[in-house]
């Protein structure tokens, strides 16, 4: 207590000076451009570390494309997750939904149904299953009034279990003509998977920042009661948000099937954590009301690059996990600082 009540004037002046410079930095970091600058710097540092430790093996074009291909699947999920989190929610079931969508679609394919139909049916099935799972989540949360954390925790368990039942716990190999060919192709040297990610990210950015849907998402996440009293149908919007994320999971499942040529109940393991982590370090507030697609894309790239650099240096997955954890903590600490500064 005696420390708390110290003399004011004696220590007053130097503190003020220090605060001014700190304020300038935080003002810079607080602006949208500044926040992304921080992420770009982090990404560049990672790349420098990659070149320094792995040299040409890292800087190789094939390696960079591998990073992007890996980033694409989780990236699509993360873009969807950005919407849900900005809207004040959370979804723990994304990994399980990816798994369920993948086995449902591949069961269709391996059972010969798909051989007689087009592979687009496989894709449609995955999207449909993903979207339906999201719809269920949204309904449970919005109309069943179950806390999002609990509702999606239940979905996580149930969807993964259902995926195991459908697949009999067997990995299903996909050999649908045209399917692999389509997704293995490149557009101007860019793999189709990466193209899909870019399209989803751009579409997500436009949807969040340029449409009524996006504006309502910010409103619902920022203050659901005020949004409701302003005439927004908050419950319907919540359902739409989770359905959108479910569709993203379905799409991610298709991309995953294409990349691995399999459907499996073990697909998408821990995707929920990776997606939430990417969204949060990107600068989207977990409490809702503020969200950035660009930040999420950087978040995904940072994590994927990190994994790549670690793998090239023969470091274990466990070490990667520790590094990821550290990055999340640092990012959230920084974010809270900024929120407090801007909040005054």
């Amino acid at each position: 207590m005696s420390e708390d009540i110290a003399s004011t004037t004696a220590s007053g002046t130097p503190v003020v000076v220090k605060k001014e410079t700190r304020r300038d930095i935080s003002a810079l970091l607080g602006s949208a451009a500044g926040r992304n600058t921080g992420l770009v710097v982090a990404l560049v540092l990672l790349c420098v570390a990659g070149v320094a430790t792995a040299g040409d093996r890292f800087a190789d074009l094939d390696n960079l494309l591998t990073i992007l291909r890996l980033a694409s699947v989780i990236g699509v999920v993360s873009v969807g997750m950005t919407f849900v989190i900005t809207g004040g929610g959370i979804d723990l079931s994304v990994g399980a939904i990816v798994a369920l969508s993948s086995v449902w679609a591949t069961t269709l394919a391996t059972q010969g149904v798909a051989n007689s139909t087009h592979w687009v049916a496989l894709m449609g099935t995955a999207l449909l299953v993903g979207g339906a799972c999201g719809l269920v989540n949204g309904m449970l949360i919005a109309y069943g009034r179950i806390v999002a954390f609990i509702a999606t925790l239940a979905s996580l368990a149930a969807a993964r279990g259902l995926a195991e039942i459908i697949s009999n716990r067997r990995t299903q190999i996909v050999d649908v003509p045209g399917f692999t060919a389509f997704f293995d192709a490149s557009v101007l040297g860019v793999p189709v998977l990466v193209v899909i990610f870019v399209v989803v990210a751009v579409a997500g950015w436009v949807l969040l920042n340029r449409t009524t849907f996006g504006r309502r998402t910010f409103a619902v996440g920022g203050n659901p009661e005020a949004a409701r009293l302003a005439g927004i149908d908050v419950r319907r919007h919540t359902v739409l948000l989770y359905t959108l994320l479910g569709l993203c999971c379905g799409l991610a499942a298709v991309m995953l099937i294409a990349r691995t040529t399999t459907g499996s109940a073990t697909h998408g393991g821990l995707y929920e954590l990776d997606a939430i982590a990417a969204v949060v370090i990107g600068g989207t507030l977990l409490s809702g009301g503020r969200g950035t697609i660009a930040g999420t894309v950087f978040g995904v790239l940072i994590f994927t690059t990190l994994s790549n650099v670690f793998t090239l240096n023969n470091l274990s997955i466990s070490a990667q996990a520790v590094a990821k954890g550290a990055i999340i903590v640092i990012a959230v600490l920084l974010q809270q600082r900024l929120a407090r500064r801007n909040g005054v």
Partner: protein, 511 residues
């Protein structure tokens, strides 16, 4: 008592004195030279428009903010409160406008929050319960049970709990930020009784209110802040002229607060027709008709059901019986969307938690209910949003005028104007206002009154709910008095006076 004997206190050291206090935030200097002193046993009133720096000053005094310059002396010694706990230990306790109670915990848990009574780490629940009861008795509220969940109490009762908490810390200086804003007249009387008792025991009270009549009744001395500076201090609350105070606060003279009323055209169409509206346990049999261009006031105590009536009309609550018609069309029950589409707009009671997206830009708060009109195939025309919002903020004199600003940083009056602008933009036909001037200073208050009148003149049907009887009578054409969920009186506003309304409001209440 002590304060009134000036000769005696002149020689004693003031309990708290503040000199040249400066507090800067990024982009603004909230305080730029505040001086005043508080003596033991006095009620010292702080007056100032919103944005004058009162809230910041309270936060500095109670340890929530650190000042950048200046000194605070407690009983003659320079002090610096690093945090609210340190301030409380010294004897300064603040009761904020936004009550800082933890819903979900009981009354006695809240009272002793942060300084729980315990023996070797085990809480002494019985003792806490007993002491809480004693404090509540002392505050004139033996009706509040120490075991109740604070979240289930009315706002007025929550405030009593906040005061009990301050007293439990053995506070020597209580800072009350607009305590009467959420209270009804009889509760204000109880509050004043408590304040008088406390001051008689030597406790000093810093009292903040926009209601000059209250300041005259309870205050000893007045300090006026304007733009973060002390413009006058030590004025005697009972002697200083109202015009002088308003002049000091606003820097200009204020003639009449309430604008002139135009007589309502008796042939004007009935825009809003409510019949037999009821909600279980809240209110029943409410009939309400509002013509275009008419302002109808709902007077009643907190908890009388007046806010619930408004929210039910708006569809935010589901009625158990009755109908709401707008322009002859019946609204779907319990649907805000239907109400808004039919042309209703609500400025809710709790502006910050119910009305605004605090961390978003002004223009986004204004356009949120009219997004469709700015969209083509779902794509928003951002530029048009800003332009239209900016026209409105200029017309409503929102200060500062920028539409890119985050709403959180605006003062109460300007925040209210933003909510009003939202419904102006939608060109709503029925405007429901719940406590439209709570936390709004005198200057902005008369601007809001004028705005409401202008809207009525343009044919909008307006319903105003307020605890401030003077406001209801001054603003409305017709008044409905609500007591315990029933409309007990209906009639033209100029055929009834304040004391009659208070009688009606309170009748049966004391029993």
């Amino acid at each position: 008592m002590v304060a009134r004997g000036d000769r005696m206190t002149a020689v004693t050291v003031p309990l708290l004195s503040v000199r040249g206090l400066v507090k800067r935030f990024p982009g603004v200097t909230a305080l730029q030279g505040v001086d005043f002193e508080v003596r033991a046993g006095e009620v010292h009133c702080l007056l100032g428009q919103n944005g004058a720096g009162k809230s910041t000053l309270i936060k500095v005094l109670s340890g929530a903010h650190r000042p950048d310059e200046g000194e605070v002396r407690w009983q003659g010694e320079v002090v610096s409160f690093g945090n609210p706990t340190a301030a409380m230990r010294t004897g300064v306790a603040a009761i904020y406008q936004e009550l800082d109670l933890v819903a979900g915990l009981s009354v006695s848990d809240n009272v002793f929050l942060g300084h729980e009574l315990s023996t070797m780490g085990f809480t002494r629940r019985v003792e806490a319960h007993r002491r809480t009861r004693a404090l509540l008795d002392r505050l004139g509220h033996p009706d509040i049970s120490p075991d109740r969940d604070v979240g289930r109490l009315s706002v007025a009762h929550q405030q009593v709990v906040s005061m009990a908490r301050a007293l439990s810390r053995d506070g020597k200086l209580l800072i009350m930020d607009e305590p009467s804003a959420v209270l009804d007249p009889d509760e204000v009387r109880v509050l004043f009784g408590v304040i008088r008792e406390l001051t008689a025991q030597g406790v000093a009270v810093v009292y903040i209110s926009h209601r000059l009549a209250e300041i005259r009744e309870i205050g000893d001395r007045v300090t006026v802040l304007k733009d973060g500076r002390t413009v006058a201090t030590g004025l005697l609350a009972r002697e200083v002229r109202t015009a002088e105070l308003i002049g000091l606060m606003t820097g200009r003279d204020l003639e009449s607060v309430f604008p002139q009323r135009e007589p309502v055209d008796p042939a004007a169409p009935e825009v809003l027709v409510v019949r037999g509206l009821a909600a279980d346990g809240r209110f029943s049999g409410v009939d309400l008709t509002v013509r275009a261009g008419e302002v109808v006031g709902l007077a009643g105590l907190v908890g009388s059901g007046r806010s619930e009536i408004l929210e039910t009309v708006y569809g935010a609550r589901k009625p158990t019986a009755g109908t709401v018609e707008v322009n002859g069309k019946r609204l779907r029950r319990g649907s805000v969307g239907a109400a808004v589409r039919a042309g209703l707009g609500l400025c809710p009671e709790e502006r910050k938690s119910q009305g605004l997206l605090l961390d978003q830009a002004v223009y986004r708060n204004i356009t949120i209910s009219s997004l469709q009109s700015f969209a083509r195939f779902g794509f928003l025309d951002d530029g048009a949003e800003r332009t239209r919002s900016s026209l409105l903020t200029t017309a409503l004199e929102v200060r500062p005028p920028g539409v890119e600003r985050v709403v959180r940083g605006l003062s109460g009056g300007n925040q209210q104007k933003v909510v009003l602008a939202r419904w102006l933009l939608r060109e709503c036909r029925v405007l429901l206002l719940d406590e439209p001037t709570r936390g709004v200073d005198v200057g902005a208050r008369s601007e809001i009154y004028e705005l409401i009148r202008d809207l009525a003149a343009k044919g909008v049907a307006v319903v105003v709910v307020s605890s401030d009887v003077e406001e209801v009578l001054g603003l409305a054409d017709r008044v409905l008095v609500v007591r315990e969920g029933q409309v007990v009186h209906e009639g033209p506003a100029d055929e009834i006076d304040e004391s009659r309304v208070l009688d009606l409001v309170m009748e049966g209440h004391a029993a």
